[in-house]
């Protein structure tokens, strides 16, 4: 199955693009000096040999800001992706397998949070944690609100898997609920869960950027969204200072696009119905 993945040109493209963003985040510091606290020049200085991306409205080197911001965005994506995938999977797989009252309860809970817009919850929560809004807290809040569709999809898969013969056999052999779920149901969902994780990570990165654009970004770190927020707030657009917002815009788009491509190409490989 894995060799099938690497034969898909779409998957390889996505992987290469995503690798590119990782390269920017972790190899650039070897080449450039990273310092987001020092003012190296005047406001909105255009790109030069010394500062490849110029400076922001405070005169801070934008290459540094982008590297730190990109790392922060990737971190938010990863943490929120892990949280959302785990919460969604646990709720979905348990409800789907158990059925009955517990399933009804968990399903109602999922649907409840599915219809209440997560952006609303995010706005309300973020605005209440004015002081201690750290990068990690934002990631946790995002993960805690976007797990719903994962739970719904996983539940559907689990409830169809539970009537398979091997699950019945395991039950006869005396496996408990936990054993059946981890040994006999989850392994069948692994490829699917990985796809979900990729998508949740992309969602996390985009959501953090949206929140930052609303002025609800992290207080303790730069992120790609906050670079954009600062640029828009400080009239980089009207000043024509393209270096203050274009690179961050392209980076966010690149990350989201590469993750989407990875996700859809995996769908094509794992779901034979979609294959040509």
């Amino acid at each position: 199955m894995l060799s099938g993945l690497f034969k898909s040109p779409l998957f390889v493209t996505g992987l290469v693009l995503f690798g590119l963003t990782l390269l920017v985040a972790f190899v650039t510091p070897w080449v450039f000096e990273i310092d987001v606290d020092r003012r190296v020049g005047l406001a909105y200085m255009p790109p030069s040999a010394e500062h490849w991306l110029g400076t922001d409205h405070l005169g801070v080197d934008l290459v540094s800001l982008h590297v730190v911001g990109l790392r922060a965005s990737l971190y938010v994506g990863l943490v929120s992706g892990v949280v959302a995938t785990i919460v969604g999977t646990v709720i979905g797989v348990y409800g789907g397998y158990k059925g009955g009252f517990i399933d009804d309860l968990l399903n109602s809970l999922t649907n409840l949070f599915l219809v209440i817009p997560s952006l609303v919850v995010l706005i309300l929560l973020s605005s209440s944690f004015e002081e201690g809004r750290s990068l990690t807290l934002i990631a946790l809040i995002i993960g805690g609100t976007t797990w719903t569709w994962t739970a719904r999809a996983v539940r559907a898969q689990a409830s169809s898997l539970k009537s398979r013969d091997h699950v019945s056999l395991a039950r006869i052999n005396g496996y408990g609920t936990f054993g059946i779920l981890t040994l006999h149901i989850l392994p069948y969902l692994l490829s699917y869960l990985f796809m979900v994780f990729v998508l949740q990570t992309a969602t996390g990165i985009l959501t953090e950027a949206s929140l930052s654009m609303l002025g609800l970004g992290p207080h303790d770190s730069v992120s790609l969204g906050r670079i954009l927020d600062e640029a828009v707030k400080n009239e980089a657009l009207l000043d024509g200072a393209w270096w203050a917002f274009l690179p961050a815009t392209l980076l966010i788009t690149l990350i989201a696009f590469s993750l989407y491509v990875i996700n859809t190409s995996m769908e094509g490989v794992f779901n034979p119905r979609l294959r040509k």
Partner: protein, 359 residues
């Protein structure tokens, strides 16, 4: 009554759904009320602290009293005076009582008073913003949905060159986050080329009204935000429709129809009808999410809609306005979901059948 409902499974189903959504609505109101009060400081505390800053004590006290009464935070006697403890501090109402008051007011459609634009009510501010949001987004979403579906179906059916060129493009278009698309459009068309204005909904020097002058100005400002929402909707829809159609094309009924030699256009119609249903759900949900959906797009363009309203509210910690707009967003999403639920029951024979089976 019992037997009447049993004989009308659709009605029974609809009533059940209505009840469920009502419950969800109450939970949403609770979320709206309690989430902002989760933090260390109550929003009203911050507010009073700020209100008192620039005033001398007597006026500050009066203002504080007005706020406390306005937002139902203290016990009030029959004459409308604040009940005070012996040391002069007002008696605070319990959180539960505040919630009951908030719930009853919200159900009556009263969203409270704005803090930043003080005597103005939240309802008033929202009423001024909503038409802009609808005028911007309704056409963009509907047109994007139509074009996206047509292109998606074509890509799935024709495959080959059409699909190879269009699909990655649509994928790229749907991956560009709304705010990035907005920033790119502003940069390209209003800063570099100077074809369209960058920010606002109309030229400030014009009077707002139904004059030719004003409409022309508004139309000029309309192009960029419209394009940015239209393109993203189109990308999303094209991708969804393409995979739906590819799935339908692989099913037995299409293969059988082909073997039977049924006209190609007719087979296409069969496929389109079946692939359309989930897309229709998508349209309903997109329209419901409309009010909250393009907050960021409106923000980038400083469009005078709900997005700007919520942004200024967040920046100024205007809690009544924040919770008012979020409640409105939630209600529209709930209504859209409910409508789609009911519509699907009527349109999809399988779901309708399921409702009849259940009784």
């Amino acid at each position: 009554m019992q037997s009447f409902l049993e004989n009308h499974p659709r009605l029974r189903h609809s009533l059940g759904r209505a009840l469920w959504y009502l419950l969800t609505f109450v939970v949403a109101i609770a979320v709206n009320f309690f989430l902002p009060r989760l933090g260390e400081q109550s929003p009203i505390d911050t507010l009073i602290a700020r209100a008192g800053e620039s005033l001398d004590t007597a006026t500050a006290r009066e203002q504080e009293a007005a706020y406390l009464k306005e937002f139902g935070l203290v016990e009030v006697d029959a004459q409308g005076n604040i009940i005070r403890q012996p040391d002069g501090h007002p008696v605070r109402t319990s959180l539960g009582a505040q919630f009951v008051r908030y719930l009853s007011l919200s159900l009556q459609g009263d969203l409270g008073t704005s803090i930043l634009q003080y005597p103005k009510s939240v309802n008033e501010i929202i009423r001024a913003a909503v038409p802009w949001t609808i005028a911007l987004q309704l056409p963009a979403i509907v047109l994007g949905w139509l074009c996206g579906n047509l292109l998606g179906a074509l890509a799935a059916y024709r495959r080959g060159f059409f699909d190879k060129g269009l699909y990655p493009l649509a994928l790229l278009m749907s991956a560009v986050p709304a705010f990035c698309a907005g920033i790119l459009l502003v940069f390209l068309f209003s800063i570099e080329l100077e074809w369209f204005p960058a920010v606002g909904g109309y030229d400030d020097s014009r009077l707002v009204g139904f004059t030719w002058d004003f409409i022309a100005s508004a139309a000029h400002y309309y192009v960029l935000p419209f394009l940015s929402i239209f393109c993203i909707t189109l990308g999303h829809q094209a991708i969804g429709m393409r995979s739906m159609c590819i799935y339908e094309l692989g099913t037995d009924y299409i293969k059988y129809s082909k073997v039977l030699g049924i006209q190609e256009s007719k087979i296409l119609m069969y496929m389109f009808r079946n692939a359309m249903l989930p897309q229709l759900t998508g349209l309903g949900l997109a329209l419901g999410a409309m009010i909250g959906g393009a907050l960021i797009t409106e923000m980038i363009f400083s469009y005078p809609g709900l997005g700007m309203t919520i942004l200024t509210a967040i920046q100024g910690n205007d809690y009544p306005l924040i919770t008012g707009t979020t409640l409105l967003i939630t209600v529209t999403v709930l209504l859209a979901n409910f409508t789609v639920d009911l519509l699907i029951g009527f349109l999809d024979p399988r779901v309708a059948h399921g409702q009849r089976e259940k009784r």
